[in-house]
């Protein structure tokens, strides 16, 4: 024991860049070995046990190494956020340079590259817990100085889970996408660029940088949905399909971004800076960005809110989501639901809440109403769906309603700090949970769709007997989604509702300008019924898919071995997600403590 202790002790005291070099070298060596193993195999064989084993070893080593080496002082020397953000871009360039017929090279390179941000984000997680409150790992340098544009990055307990989620889901999406045979080079390049853009949004602390990444995230997704999505088809008067959904997604979000851009410019012209941290401090210091109660303030608030709400998406801006999900390729749906939606929520938390707290509080009742509608209405509409992907898309509307509710509650300055902190941490945790749960559900839809080529629930049934492992995984993920205690979804729902009830009961009626506390209480109580509806449609889906006896088509597919249980790659894709569902459900302190620290310091700053 002493030897190990001494070894560990020495590791943490040695000069740090050396460790990083060592970590990366180890990772590269293992990766190279994996690659080497792989090249000796049939290029199209992705299920080889040896390669999979090598992949697991790589994965574990990469996970472990930075976590072990991730002590604070190490991270202090290294531009870790820049690395996390731009390694995928570098990877995209590398992938684009590979020969296009070597699909295996392209796949494994992408996977390897995507592991780096994952490992580094774990280092962020470990490191952040040892650092004081506030923004950490800050990098700041002049970029376009005349207009106050800085390259400013930093993370706190709210962004780290998001960065980690992005890195994790991208890695899994890349792993899952090994089946893609249509132009994989461009496909993976788009994925890696998308990862860069998304992480960029979560780490940017300058509006200019933020907006660039925000808009940049649209482009790869547009192509992923448009090119790798479903082919166009006539449906009534509308030609639905990949291109339709891609255009709808792009235009809708872009329309929201216009307001965002105008509001950012408005803030810049009144305040003369793009720096989010500085603006937050100014607002906390008692100088609001716009004159309170003025038309300009309201306009700026709603411009920002609508811009973010479209991305969230909150009722009534949600209809691009089902289309985009239904038409997107599986991994695209996963990233879309898992992370892109979180950009909007993140904007609400990082920008709207700290920069316009007065306006947010004034309009919070309206936002609470929208959130309550999203929760109940989303569940009800989901109940009426027979397309599996559409159903899950609407369940996302339902789940994101909890996030919006939590943020709106956190804006109520009359509530106690504990209440607000629980609500805000609940919202952030819900973002994380939704990412792993709904991301997982979309993976699972992809798994079954690949085999049976239909998402029409009328045709499903009896999968429990045909594909038991799949049925089990689907069951656990569904129960996590409907908020079963012991799994992740429950904790965040509990926290958001605790915050919401607390706010309704603690805030004096004078504080509510648009709704009485009783009305808020009733709204929240009605939203609690949303839980029942969510349970109902999730259980119906389980019943329609897994129970009963298999229909003829499925039985035929099963007999002809087209319908088989999850293979190793698919299990590996789902395993980390299931693990997180259980860990967060059983001991949420692992992640909530970190989020709570950031949320509490943010809220106490706002007062």
């Amino acid at each position: 024991m002493d030897v190990i202790g001494e070894f560990l002790g020495r590791m943490f005291t040695m000069p740090t860049p050396l460790y990083w070099a060592g970590t990366i070298a180890t990772a590269l060596a293992v990766g190279a070995y994996t690659w080497f193993l792989l090249l000796r195999k049939d290029p199209n064989d992705v299920r080889g046990r040896g390669t999979a084993l090598a992949a697991i070893i790589t994965f574990l080593l990469l996970l472990a190494a930075p976590a072990v080496f991730g002590s604070v002082d190490i991270l202090g020397y290294w531009p870790i956020l820049t690395l996390i953000t731009f390694i995928p871009l570098f990877g995209a360039i590398v992938v684009l340079c590979l020969p296009k017929e070597r699909h295996d090279w392209i796949r494994w390179t992408s996977l390897l590259i995507s592991l780096f941000p994952l490992g580094l984000s774990i280092a962020l997680w470990v490191g952040l817990n040892r650092l004081p409150e506030g923004m950490q790992f800050v990098e700041k340098m002049a970029w376009i100085e005349p207009i106050q544009v800085y390259y400013h990055m930093g993370v706190d307990g709210i962004s780290v889970p998001m960065v980690f989620l992005t890195a994790l889901l991208t890695t899994l999406a890349v792993l899952y996408s090994f089946i893609v045979t249509d132009r994989p080079k461009e496909y993976y390049a788009f994925f890696l660029i998308l990862e860069m853009a998304m992480i960029g949004v979560f780490v940017s602390l300058n509006f200019f940088l933020f907006y660039i990444f925000w808009e940049l995230s649209l482009v790869p997704m547009y192509f992923l949905i448009g090119l790798w999505g479903a082919p166009p088809r006539q449906e009534g008067r509308i030609v639905r399909g990949g291109p339709y959904a891609a255009i709808k997604f792009f235009i809708y979000t872009l329309a929201g971004s216009v307001g965002l851009l105008l509001a950012i410019l408005g803030i810049y012209f009144t305040q003369g800076t793009f720096d989010i941290v500085e603006l937050t401090q100014r607002v906390a210091g008692g100088t609001p960005l716009f004159e309170p109660g003025s038309v300009g303030a309201a306009l700026a608030f709603w411009a920002l809110f609508v811009g973010f709400a479209i991305k969230v998406p909150s009722f009534p801006f949600h209809t691009w989501l089902p289309d985009a999900h239904v038409e997107a390729p599986t991994a695209g749906s996963v990233i879309l639901a898992g992370i892109l939606l979180k950009l909007g929520c993140y904007g609400l938390i990082r920008i709207l809440l700290p920069l316009m707290p007065h306006e947010f509080e004034t309009f919070a009742p309206i936002i609470i109403i929208l959130a309550a509608i999203s929760i109940v209405y989303g569940a009800l509409v989901a109940m009426a769906q027979w397309d599996l992907k559409k159903l899950i898309a609407y369940s996302s509307v339902n789940h994101m309603g909890y996030v919006v509710l939590g943020v709106a509650i956190a804006a109520m300055s009359g509530a106690q700090l504990t209440t607000k902190a629980i609500a805000l941490s609940g919202a952030v945790l819900q973002m994380f949970n939704h990412g792993i749960i709904t991301g997982g559900l979309f993976f699972l839809v992809g798994v079954i769709y690949e085999r049976v080529h239909t998402r029409d629930l009328h045709l499903y049934g009896g999968l429990r007997r045909l594909v038991p492992v799949y049925a089990g995984v689907w069951g656990v993920t569904s129960f996590a989604s409907l908020g079963l205690p012991g799994l992740a979804g429950f904790v965040s729902e509990f926290m958001v509702f605790r915050g919401a009830f607390g706010a309704a009961l603690e805030v004096s009626s004078a504080r509510f300008q648009l709704l009485s506390p009783l009305a808020v209480l009733i709204l929240v109580a009605v939203s609690t019924l949303g839980i029942v509806f969510t349970a109902a449609f999730m259980l119906w889906t389980i019943q329609r898919m897994l129970f009963g006896t298999a229909k003829e088509k499925f039985q035929d597919l099963y007999d002809s071995r087209h319908l088989f249980d999850m293979d190793l790659r698919e299990v590996l894709t789902m395993a980390p997600l299931l693990l997180f569902m259980v860990i967060v459900g059983v001991y949420p302190g692992v992640i909530v403590d970190m989020i709570n620290r950031a949320a509490t310091s943010l809220l106490s700053l706002l007062g």
């Binding site: 209809t319 205690p485 607390g502 129970f547």
Partner: protein, 788 residues
């Protein structure tokens, strides 16, 4: 002793380990016997540890003081004299003189002997902690759950091996993994010291109930019942959820001890108003009680429990009779001081819900033919008794009935399962009959269970039901009458069931072939399991399965022994009973009430004998004797659209048989309603909201085509017009250029040429002509000079 308490968390962990092993280790999953034995072994360990904890609790000085009865002060103290006890109690500083404002005495249960909390997550500047504890309530429940559970696990081995559906995979190992998960959650619920942890386990037992009801999920009826159970209890849980939030918000604590052991906290809760709706205590108690209504199948939300009988019978016994449904009652008992603090209105509400449930379900049970459904409604009715007791302040009575009921109802359910398997998958009681000779062990144990349920003297059911009736007698005469009638109905329908199942002649092939493996007869026992399917082919009346194996009959005997022995702790002593001393409450005994209740129970049995015992069914198609009798009584006539309808008393029977049509009403109102709402929302989303988006897109395309036209026709037209004008102009200019500008030039050239041509003529080459011209020129110039 401390060591034992420190290991309490292992009690739920053991069965969980079995579940994990079955789920994740294929080697275990594919060995059916191993998975069963592993689960049973783990459960036995839990039972062992539970017993240790129980005895350690009994041996604890505080408990000893109560048990020996000399601690009248201790027992009385919580009510009136809080101060003297505060000196004795180790943690007395937290219990100052109870500031009872209304004079309403609040019963404070004994403090936990052991408690441990751990950090779960950070909330703002605070920390949310969960934990586990041991108090008398926990100790008693631990033993009950693990003992009944173990019996049922052992029984399940035989039952699940005999149960099969046309070659369906029995999923034997999966069944045990679910059982293990259930036991873990239930035991976790019992040791939770915190409402949140309690709620988590509460939901997990709900999950297990869902999984096990829908265990044969290729059957539509099974998975429909599973979903119904989950959703209906979930509706109750929404109320529970709100109750938790209220407590959490107003106390910043979710520890149960913080709330129930502190009169000052209870007092504060009782006097804090929630937005003018009511006091925190009342609202949160009602919230929690709505959870109980769902979980313990009380009246408006009782509909799921009878359907839950679709699950395998051991599940019905374990979850839907003995333990899980009792969790709702346990919750009320656990939070009892909160209910008392909530005031008499809340308590009365609880009592009435219980009373109505007791009579409502008991009457339905009269007219059921499915052996398990009778027991299901009986369970609902008995849970109603417990809730009634708690609502009337009978903490000990309600909780004691919970424990005794768990034993005899588990016994009855397992007995019914034995009958079903023994009679080869016959569930309709009309197809049974004459089984008392064929299934003697089952019959005698079932008889004990039935007598206990009916409340016949030396059995435990007598003491527990009697305490409830006594509480009702003392506090609420109306409810006492209702409860007494319900008790009469209970013994009546149980007698009916006994006659249907065991008396007379066997009325089906299955029943005729029923047999048991004798306790001391090896040769038959060895022959029995060897031929599980019997090779009877596809005969419709195929009789498969051998005689009842011992692992199904022995648990019956254990439970029957428990049913008998439990009455020992319920025997009235001078200061309550042993049980009431243990859990720290009051229990009285009144010869009058006991006499009436015994008479009523005997009357029920007698009436049952008169109607059913004297008119034994001959064949499975005979009508119910009670129905026949009620048919004879005409109540009146009803004229409806010209038709005359005889309104006979048997209409009441039909009403009971159809369960008061509650399922139909709910199905129409809520199920269809929510589907309709969903469909309307779906249409609204597609047509209106997405329609608006697509409309906007359409509009913008329309607009853009209008602009396109404008651009093409007007803006570009203008440009083109200008261009045309330019072209015209340039054409004119070209013409002008060609004919005028250039023409002028040409004209000049022509003129010059012409002039030159004309002038050429004077170039004659003759000198005289030139001289002539010179002369003329000179003359001209001279002439000009002269003229000027």
């Amino acid at each position: 002793m401390e060591v034992v308490f420190n290991l309490v968390w292992l009690i739920p962990l053991f069965p969980l380990l079995a579940t994990a092993a079955i789920t994740f280790v294929p080697g275990v999953y594919y060995r059916k016997k191993l998975s069963a034995r592993l689960t049973i072994g783990m459960m036995a360990l839990s039972l062992l540890l539970s017993l240790l904890v129980f005895f350690a609790t009994v041996a604890h000085p505080e408990t000893q003081a109560r048990l020996e009865g000399h601690a009248a002060a201790v027992k009385e103290a919580p009510a009136g004299e809080a101060v003297p006890e505060a000196g004795e109690a180790p943690a007395g500083e937290t219990r100052p003189a109870a500031p009872e404002a209304e004079g309403e005495e609040i019963f404070l249960p004994p403090r936990p002997i052991f408690e441990r909390e751990f950090h779960w997550m950070a909330t703002g500047r605070l920390s949310l902690e969960l934990g586990f504890w041991v108090d008398p309530l926990t100790a008693a429940m631990l033993v009950m759950v693990s003992l009944v559970g173990l019996c049922i696990f052992i029984y399940s081995q035989g039952y699940m091996a005999a149960e099969d559906y046309q070659g369906e995979d029995q999923r034997y190992s999966r069944f045990f993994s679910f059982l293990g998960l259930f036991a873990a959650s239930m035991l976790g619920l019992v040791i939770a010291d915190n409402i949140l942890l309690l709620f988590i386990c509460w939901e997990l037992v709900g999950l297990c109930s869902y999984l096990l009801i829908g265990f044969w999920n290729f059957k539509k009826s099974a998975y429909d019942a599973a979903i119904k159970a989950f959703i209906v209890t979930k509706i109750g849980d929404a109320g529970f959820f709100i109750g938790i939030f209220l407590l959490y918000i107003y106390t910043d604590h979710m520890s149960i001890g913080y709330i129930i052991h502190r009169p000052e906290v209870l007092n504060r809760l009782a006097h804090t108003s929630v937005l003018g709706i009511g006091s925190v205590a009342a609202l949160s108690a009602i919230g929690l009680f709505i959870g109980t209504i769902g979980k313990s199948a009380q009246v408006p939300l009782h509909v799921w429990l009878p359907d839950a009988m679709e699950g395998p019978t051991p599940v019905s016994a374990l979850i839907h009779a003995a333990t899980m449904v009792a969790a709702g009652v346990f919750l009320v008992a656990r939070m009892f001081p909160l209910f008392q603090a909530a005031g008499s209105g809340t308590m009365e509400f609880v009592a009435w819900i219980g009373g109505i449930t007791a009579i409502f379900a008991a009457t339905i049970a009269i007219a059921q033919y499915d052996i398990k459904r009778v027991l299901a409604y009986s369970t609902i009715s008995q849970l109603g008794f417990m809730v009634l007791a708690l609502g009337l302040g009978g903490y000990v009575a309600g909780f004691f009935h919970l424990i005794t009921h768990a034993f005899f109802k588990a016994l009855l359910f397992l007995g019914s399962g034995a009958v079903i398997i023994g009679a080869h998958h016959v569930q309709d009681m009309r197809e049974m009959g004459g089984l008392w000779k064929r299934l003697p062990y089952t019959f005698w144990t079932y008889l004990i269970g039935m007598l206990a349920l009916a409340g016949i003297f030396p059995l435990s059911g007598f003491f527990s039901k009697d305490e409830i009736l006594l509480d009702a007698f003392k506090h609420n005469p109306a409810l006492y009458v209702i409860a007494t009638i319900a008790a009469f109905v209970t013994s009546f329908y149980m007698t009916r069931q006994m006659f249907y199942v065991f008396a007379g002649e066997a009325r089906s092939h299955g029943a005729r072939a029923a047999a048991e493996v004798p306790l001391f007869g090896r040769e038959l026992a060895a022959a029995a399991p060897a031929d599980p399917h019997g090779g009877h082919g596809h005969d419709e009346h195929a009789v498969h399965g051998g005689p009842l194996p011992l692992n199904m009959t022995v648990p019956l005997m254990v439970l029957a022994a428990g049913t008998v022995l439990l009455s020992a702790v319920g025997l009235p002593l001078e200061e309550g009973t042993l049980f009431s001393r243990f859990v720290g409450g009051h229990a009285d005994f009144s010869l009058l009430v006991a006499g009436i209740s015994t008479l009523v129970a005997l009357a029920g049995i007698g009436a049952g004998h008169l109607i059913y015992g004297r008119n034994l069914l001959r064949s499975a198609h005979d009508p119910d004797p009670l129905q026949v009798r009620m048919e004879r009584v005409r109540l009146g006539r009803l004229r409806l659209r010209g038709k005359t309808l005889d309104l006979r008393l048997s209409a009441l029977y039909t009403l009971w048989e159809k369960k008061y049509y509650v399922d139909e009403i709910y199905g129409f109102l809520f199920v269809q309603g929510s589907h309709l709402l969903a469909r309307v929302s779906g249409w609204f989303d597609l047509a209106v909201i997405d329609g608006a988006v697509n409309g906007a897109a359409h509009l913008s395309r329309l607009l853009s085509s209008a602009f396109g036209w404008f651009d093409l026709e007007v803006v570009d037209g203008l440009v083109n017009l200008i261009g045309w004008f330019g072209r015209v102009f340039s054409a004119i200019q070209g013409w002008v250029d060609l004919y005028i500008v250039d023409g002028l030039v040409n004209a000049w050239a022509l003129a010059t040429g012409w002039v030159g041509d004309r002038l050429r003529r004077i170039q004659t080459g003759l000198v005289q002509d030139y001289l002539m011209l010179v002369l003329l020129g000179v003359a001209l110039i001279v002439g000009l000079f002269i003229l000027l």
